[in-house]
């Protein structure tokens, strides 16, 4: 009886053999992840397709300052210079999303490499790498990025790099602690006795198993990069020639009591973006995990 049963179970599993298909199925079975994906696509459409429909120049003063949303034909109102906030949200979104993703990518690449090598090799390598990490951690991040921007000029590229360079330490710590845990697992010793090289062990064996907390960290990273850019532009250190959500917040902040909406709208947009990305990230995490996938 049991035999027949386990067999039929196997056969069902065996039919669903393609990993990619399984992952997609798993992802789409997760309602939260699908909601996140829809939200994310909506945001992308708004930001990248929106300007084709709504062509008002975000820098142009088009009406009286602080027009309330839904008045005078301005869906999201106008800011302190009387510029259209809807246009600013679209143009600024492009920049904020790009900086957020790119800076997160930079910090993940640095953080994962540092954390992986430190955790995997241990000993002297670890000690040196972690001192290096601590050094960056104790640096006042805002000040440090200000220095970078001041030195290399305020362009999108330097801002992105500056944010990435100051925020990778958290990723490095998470990665290292996961590596420390996983490198002691017997399957790592098993792979090594199967004559695996170090790089294979690091990237093919340990990293895939260490992904879940790194993905979570990466989600946070995108959000904090967007906010970081906001802080920089608030200080006037971001590229002044481009619009970003952070800039909208920063420039309208002095008037928050008179026109809260001008700050709340970009704030809400950042919140939605971070939410969408973390829902999608969670869904991806689960979909990548075979244990959860086949239940």
């Amino acid at each position: 009886m049991s035999d027949i049963n386990t067999q039929t179970k196997d056969i069902i599993d065996i039919q669903a053999t393609s990993s990619l298909r399984e992952m997609t199925t798993m992802f789409f079975r997760n309602y939260a992840a699908v909601a996140g994906l829809i939200l994310l696509i909506t945001i992308l459409l708004f930001v990248f397709v929106g300007p084709l429909v709504h062509t008002t120049d975000p820098f142009e003063m088009v009406w009286a300052p602080f027009t309330m949303p839904m008045q005078e034909g301005f869906i999201l109102g106008t800011d302190y210079l009387g510029r259209d906030i809807l246009s600013a949200m679209m143009a600024g979104g492009q920049v904020s999303l790009a900086i957020g993703l790119a800076a997160a990518l930079v910090s993940i690449i640095i953080g994962v490499s540092v954390g992986a090598f430190a955790g995997y090799y241990g000993g002297l390598v670890e000690e040196l790498l972690m001192r290096f990490t601590e050094f960056f951690q104790v640096l006042p991040t805002l000040l440090f990025s200000m220095v970078i921007v001041a030195l290399f000029g305020a362009s999108l590229l330097t801002v992105t790099l500056a944010i990435g360079v100051v925020s990778w330490t958290a990723v490095a710590r998470v990665t290292r602690s996961e590596f420390l845990r996983i490198r002691e697992m017997e399957y790592v010793a098993a792979a090594r006795s199967g004559s695996a090289r170090d790089l294979y062990l690091i990237f093919k064996v340990i990293l895939p198993n260490a992904l879940p907390p790194i993905v979570v960290q990466a989600n946070l990273m995108v959000g904090s990069a967007i906010l970081f850019e906001a802080a920089l532009s608030f200080l006037g250190l971001s590229d002044p020639n481009v619009m970003s959500w952070g800039q909208v917040i920063g420039s309208n902040r002095p008037y928050i009591l008179d026109a809260g909406f001008a700050v709340a709208i970009p704030g809400f947009a950042i919140f939605l973006t971070v939410l969408a990305i973390s829902l999608v990230g969670d869904g991806l995490n689960d979909a990548l995990n075979p244990k959860l996938r086949q239940r």
Binding site: M1, S2, D3, N5, T6, R295
Partner: protein, 331 residues
């Protein structure tokens, strides 16, 4: 015979799982008298721990649920009792030792504090009296330098000592029943022997009834008075230990005894193959209507797949639920 100290009768426990309803315990009946040790054996997943947890009133609900049956502690019904009353009984009248002593001790309190806490909780003793009792108990479980060790944290003790602490904690309020769920599985053989001695001595002194769960037939033979063999949520054989082990009636029990490589003091020069029980324990969600062991049984009869055998007396003080055993008896 008077009323048994602890009597479980017709206990049914169901778990709701994704794959359907799992009958984790299927009409279990057993009893223990004062000063007796009842052993429960079986492969993992056959319901040994669930039996213990039901008696403790610790079945996780949901997904689990005691569907029917009764558990009586000297005549008092425990099934359906309120949480507060149950809490009083748990720890005071029934104590339990778990398999992994490290995870069941709180790492941030000293072991003395943990034992004292349970004494204070159940007996309302003063802090000082409770601490004194804790030290006494640590001495009773033969921990050297008990007074100093009472101030140790769990991680500072070896596995064997932690298990002794667990026993001390379980016995601190002098429970009448002690349930030990694989108390030595995580320990070394020589330490296991010490723990068994300890359990036996404590039982001799305090008259505690012990339910001893294990998968080690040898441990059962040397420690228990009675034994219940479980398979797929049912008791399939039960009786006096010597009788069950020397004259098993159920095919599963026979297999369990035969498939263990027994340590012999005069081994022959040739390595024989071991007896095997083929296959694995079935999933509890899709048990058929017949004998749950039928797919793995090598004595299977035609009726085995259609009728579930009931426990019947096959020998004196010895029950088995097996059609083959019943047929043999009829001959």
């Amino acid at each position: 015979m008077s009323d048994p100290l602890l009597a479980v009768s017709d206990l049914v426990v169901d778990f709701k799982t994704r794959a359907g309803n799992a009958r984790v315990l299927d009409h279990i009946s057993l009893s223990v008298n004062e000063g007796e040790i009842l052993g429960i054996v079986g492969e993992s997943g056959c319901g040994k721990s669930m039996t213990a947890l039901s008696i403790m009133g610790l079945i996780p609900d949901p997904p689990g649920k005691i569907t029917s049956g009764s558990i009586k502690l000297s005549g008092q019904e425990l099934v359906g009792m309120g949480v507060d009353d149950l809490c009083k009984i748990r720890g005071k009248d029934i104590g339990m030792i778990f398999q992994e002593p490290m995870t069941s001790l709180n790492p941030v309190f000293t072991v003395g504090e943990q034992i004292a806490e349970s004494v204070r909780l159940h007996e309302g003793a003063s802090a000082k009296a409770a601490h004194a009792r804790a030290v006494d108990m640590l001495e009773a479980v033969e921990i050297p330098e008990a007074a100093t060790r009472a101030h140790a944290y769990p991680y500072q003790l070896s596995g064997g000592m932690r298990q002794r602490v667990m026993i001390a904690m379980a016995l601190a309020c002098r429970p009448r029943v002690l349930i030990a769920d694989e108390p030595t599985t995580a320990l070394d053989t020589t330490v296991q022997a010490q723990i068994f001695d300890l359990l036996q001595n404590l039982q001799d002194e305090m008259g505690t009834a012990i339910i001893m769960i294990t998968h080690d037939m040898g441990a059962i033979a040397e420690l228990a008075d009675n034994v219940a063999v479980m398979y797929a949520g049912s008791i399939v054989e039960m009786g006096k230990v010597d009788n069950v082990l020397s004259h098993p009636d159920h095919t599963y029990t026979k297999g369990l005894i035969a498939c263990v490589p027994h340590l012999s003091t005069s081994p022959g020069p040739v390595r024989e193959r071991l007896m095997e029980i083929e296959g694995v324990v079935p999933a509890l969600t899709d048990l058929g209507k017949g004998c749950a062991f039928a797919p793995r049984c090598n004595a299977v009869l035609p009726r085995c797949s259609s009728d579930k055998p009931e426990l019947i007396a096959t020998q004196e003080n010895h029950l088995a639920a097996c059609w083959a055993a019943e047929a043999e008896m009829a001959e």
